[in-house]
């Protein structure tokens, strides 16, 4: 009996993109996101050896173990994934970096590194699995929790939230999107677009914590998300060299071209709605959502013009890690030349 095994363009099966079994809670939003990463990497025929998975500390940061088992992974320190990512991607420009962080990891302890990563426009997909709560330490509010939220043990949150997307925009992010783990189709298309971006792509994905923060009044819960999510666009990722099939009225669809020649087709769901290439509009959108407790999702901002860090730094295209010894250690004559200047008489 022959089994028909589906493979992608580089001949890999989907299960070659999976990781270890998840040890997160059943129904955790993070598992859903891990599954979308697996699907996207398979669909885009990404070679697993080119990917590095990076994370900090927390429930979200465990998840790189649960996808792309054939990619190198580095589960680093709490809030410090951005600096590790900066080091890795700077010395090896061939790698595709996928970072997974959480709201504690990014919005509190790692806020500084997060913003500086964005400021440098380090090329990577930076996913924040945002659930407004600390899971591993059992139910404290995180800095992204909305004001007035109630948790069983922590009580009422009296402080205003830190908005990951606003922080990213303020730091001159070049790709900012918000999504919902309960909307896998959108997560998938945004992931594809993010992987085609040559700079930091921030995906703030509301990813409910089923154990500590999934009650109906929680703005980071499945029920709330399902009720309140307002997708800004119907997003379709169109790979390089594939034609765009436009069957909408003019003005309804915005095409955004990405660095690698691929495009995203954004069907606006409200004709007067958001232009993701307008930074001020993006800020305004987020401010309004904050004020009115709204949950807009989709591509919030995109800027393909700003160069990534390695370009700005004038780095050679060849990964520094591939340079042979004779290009790393200057020759004997070079030392002689330097010393001649310093030598007495």
């Amino acid at each position: 009996m022959s089994v028909d095994v589906r493979v992608n363009d580089i001949g890999l099966e989907r299960n070659e993109y999976t990781g270890s079994p998840s040890t997160l809670c059943k129904g955790c939003g993070h598992n859903s996101i891990a599954n979308q990463i697996i699907s996207v990497a398979y669909e885009l025929s990404i070679n697993p050896h080119r990917v590095v998975k990076l994370s900090g500390i927390g429930c979200s940061s465990k998840s790189p173990a649960y996808f792309l088992g054939r990619s190198h992974g580095f589960n680093g320190l709490h809030g410090r994934m951005p600096s590790i990512a900066t080091g890795v991607t700077t010395v090896n420009r061939d790698l595709i970096a996928i970072g997974v962080s959480g709201d504690g990891d990014t919005g509190s302890i790692g806020l500084g590194q997060f913003k500086h990563l964005i400021r440098r426009n380090i090329p990577m997909v930076y996913i924040v699995e945002n659930n407004g709560v600390y899971g591993l330490t059992k139910g404290q509010f995180s800095a992204t929790a909305d004001q007035g939220q109630v948790l069983k043990y922590a009580g009422v949150n009296e402080l205003p939230p830190i908005d990951i997307c606003l922080e990213a925009l303020a730091a001159e992010a070049t790709f900012v999107a918000r999504s919902f783990a309960g909307d896998p189709a959108q997560v998938r298309e945004l992931l594809k677009a993010a992987l085609s971006h040559n700079g930091t792509a921030v995906l703030d994905i509301i990813s409910p914590c089923v154990t500590f923060n999934n009650h109906e009044t929680s703005t980071k819960s499945y029920p709330w998300g399902k009720q309140h999510e307002e997708a800004l666009q119907d997003i379709t990722y169109v790979p390089y060299a594939e034609p765009i099939m436009v069957d909408y009225d003019e003005g309804e669809v915005q095409i955004v071209e990405l660095h690698d020649g691929s495009r995203i087709q954004l069907k606006k769901l409200d004709p007067a709605s958001h232009d993701p290439t307008d930074r001020r509009a993006a800020m305004e959108l987020l401010e309004q959502a904050r004020e009115n407790m709204e949950f807009p999702t989709g591509l919030i901002y995109y800027d393909g013009s700003r160069q990534p860090f390695a370009e700005v730094s004038g780095l050679i295209d060849t990964p520094l890690t591939h340079l042979p010894e004779d290009r790393l250690r200057p020759p004997r004559e070079a030392l002689d030349r330097v010393l001649a200047k310093l030598t007495c008489c």
């Binding site: 050896h49 580095f74 320190l77 600096s83 500086h116 050679i316 200057p330 030392l335």
Partner: protein
Amino acid sequence: MTDVQRAELAASAAGKGTVVNDFQIIVATVNGTGSQTANTVLIRALFRMGIPVTGKNIFPSNIQGLPTWFTIRLSKDGYIARRETSEILVAMNRNTLQQDIDDLPSGGVCFYPAEWKIKHHRDDIVYYPMPVNELVNQADVPRNLRDYVANMVYVGALAALLEIDLGEIEGALNFHFDGKQKPVDLNMGVVRLAYDYAMDHLPKVDPYRVERMNGTGGKILLDGNSAAALGSVFGGVSLIAWYPITPSTSLIDAAREYLKELRIDPETGKATYAVIQAEDELAAIGMVVGAGWAGARAMTATSGPGISLMAEFAGLAYFAEVPAVIWDVQRVGPSTGLPTRTSQGDVLFAYTLGHGDTKHPVLLPADIKECFEFGWRVFDLAERLQTLVFVLSDLDLGMNLWMSEPFEYPDEPMDRGKVLTAEDLERLGGFSRYKDVDGDGIAYRTLPGTDHRLAAYFTRGTGHNERAIYSEAPEDWVQNMERLNRKFNTARDLVPQPVIDRAEGAQFGLIAYGTTHHAVVEARDRLREQGIEFDYLRLRALPPNNVTRDFIAGHERVYVFENNADGQMARILQMEFPELAGRIISLAYLDGLPLAPRRLVEMITEKESAFA
């Protein structure tokens, strides 16, 4: 001073004979007034005359306005340790004028601006007033540069009275300004005016002078931070991430200059390196760890407060086994401490930096030649051992000018350590990231991007088994930590070995490390004159091995001399060799200044008298 007094002093000076190439000049200035150029030019001119010379800048944590002292020691015998007494004062700071004069020894010399009034004259010293304003006015100097070139007045006056060759001063100016004629001429013009003035108006009445000798032929003059930077470049460093902090900043500045010169790709004109100014030291070491994990040679340079912030990453690098290099140019702590003063106060902290059972190899350069050598060698060690390696320099070594034999080109190819390629993986059929295949505690690693289906592994700071899988199993934990200990023991024989200098009839042993070495060299000669002989071991790295153990075991008592208050190295050695702990006696002292030979002589004399 009357002419009669001057004549008397001259006569008495003549009676004492002259002092040639064996004295110290102290220049008292105000921070930020540009005296650094004058001082380095003087040092280089003396160096070019073949006279062994060292310069030390004792400066404040300040941009402008606070007092600064620069000492220039001439030693025909080649001693380069700090000397406490300066015979010749160049008083360019009005606020400290009286104190500086009071500090002179009897028979000392004071150069000072003639415009200033000295309140309490001392009869036992010589004064040379220099009409600074008048001479600068005579020179054709743009107004905005006047304050700076005013310092050249004392260069000219010293040249006249100490007989420093004007040609060599011009040569030194040429070096300083990289051959740019305009500033050379401008400064030299003032030097000449002051020189001529002094020759005409200031009759020589002190005994100090310089004379050409051949004590510096073939030698180089450089600061330790530049030497470290150059060594790093010849070690193939590809990523430097850092956050500005005194006294390590100039290491990065120098590295950037050398990299620009030596590591630009000739075909594309692009950089084959990255220097990243991070947002803080946590990010700096994070970038280094990321780059090291990815397979690049990466380093950071910092000082005490910086390594405090790097502690968590240091533990990660140790436990996840990632090569990384930290240069710690030590300054005085605790806390912000004395940020512009020198110490050896981070030894204990660096050695065990990180929570839990963490330890790191620590290299201890004593001079600029070792700064260069350890600069490249440290990458071999970090990659061979797959761990964080510290290099502990200090402010005195890093920021002051030192004389040295020229550096030697690395005598061995780079050691990139145990890295498996795709071909290796194909041949082996896989690997276990943390398995001790060779029995030396060092496992094999792969680099991200290795094109093989078995190349990947998951790096984590959490407990893991041999296959890098998360594990909380007690036996996995114990096994892994035992292997890490085995690896640390492997490091004992790989790090730079101690240098032992034995003496006939040695009464005890002495251990020192880093810049303290220079005080030991000089103190040893002086103690020898008193009939005190000792064997000397200079530690060049931690962890120590049997060489150090045997040295300690071979003496009834071993002093450990160091520039911190707690006797940190003495404690480390007592921990390393508990059975010998009773023989180890700490001689520790820290006041922010480099240790002077006198300190050791006194400490030893006092301790030894108790044993006599």
